[in-house]
Subunit: 238 residues, 2 copies
Amino acid sequence: MTAGTVHGVGLGPGAQDLMSVRADRLLRGARHVAYFRKAGRPGQARRIIEGMLRPDAVEFPMDYPVTTEIPLDDPRYAATLAAFYEDCAAHLRALAEGGEDVVVLAEGDPFFYGSFMHLYTRLLPHVPVRVVPGITGMAAAWAASGAPITWGDDVLTVAPATLPEAELTRRIAQTDALVVMKIGQNLAKLKRAIAAAGREAVLVEYAAMPEERVRPLHEVDKAPYFSIALIHGQGRRP
Amino acid sequence: MTAGTVHGVGLGPGAQDLMSVRADRLLRGARHVAYFRKAGRPGQARRIIEGMLRPDAVEFPMDYPVTTEIPLDDPRYAATLAAFYEDCAAHLRALAEGGEDVVVLAEGDPFFYGSFMHLYTRLLPHVPVRVVPGITGMAAAWAASGAPITWGDDVLTVAPATLPEAELTRRIAQTDALVVMKIGQNLAKLKRAIAAAGREAVLVEYAAMPEERVRPLHEVDKAPYFSIALIHGQGRRP
């Protein structure tokens, strides 16, 4: 029997028509569709593809066993997640070894942060895996902001707000253009770092979604999970 | 009369089916399509959309008056390009003011380097302009490389190889993950900077195109325009 292929498919930032034509075709034809979600929630990836699946599509939700209950640096966090990814990968591998193709949903781009890559490395030695790149959430954020992010020879830094404050401040001071992800609980720290670096940023919430909103970062007191901070580059512009 | 809209449409990295569904629909329905190209060449953007246009679509090629003939830091370079962008924007503005929608092709993403943004800032005060984000060339490059670019709390730096060698070296040394664009004539300098920073990179040529190729950077002696160097992040991976 020929093994099936596991497709890690980038869904883009959230609007269904910002998915690639390749992703759209794969999804609409898929017999098996897997996606991560927080336990008890429908999940953002599944929400994006609402109405696109075949009536006979078999769904495989993968419920994260932990999100913020255990600190990231606790060894139990890594162990719990490793076991979870092993289980998910084993299920997808069995489907592929049984000849079935599987589409795994990935918000944004599958190789840019995110969880799909933890399945990818576990599946790669065993079954065919292909990746469909996607429009990143940050690209939707700078489109929403109404201004280009990089010009000419600008350097762009993409940093998670989870970094220590001193490092975050240094990186903000030393770059032309900036994207900050993973803000959530780190909003106050990020605002201090931006101010300490003498810069100004905008916060884009829910880019490419109906709730899209753009504000100066210093006016923001609470940032949802789907928010990205930007500093626009000011490089060469004839 | 209602003004038409100028749409800056991200085409993605080069494969037609890596365009977004929104870009695909806009292009197939477009009556007016504008794109940049090097004089005397068909142009990469136009090549990507081959076969997609309506039979009655009116094309407006915008031929760069200079590419590498005048150094970037020569004032004549900026002046020549500024006059060129003014002319192009005036034409697009006249179309929109006459009630016509226009699609302007942008390789990759319209707000991530590239030329569309020079029209965008000139058109924005006068006519409606909308931007459709796209899959970046770098996302296609890391998909082609077969490994995720960023994990966990990795910092990603995107730098043009046009930077001075010392700055390039410092930025390569200080980042987790790296993307280098605009390599071309700067290949030797980039190779020295990577070595001086004690890192190793891969070069991805023609990502998502039929000629796609991935090699260790140190083995490469000549880099085509469509090439991107990558250093993959090694962050947290449970």
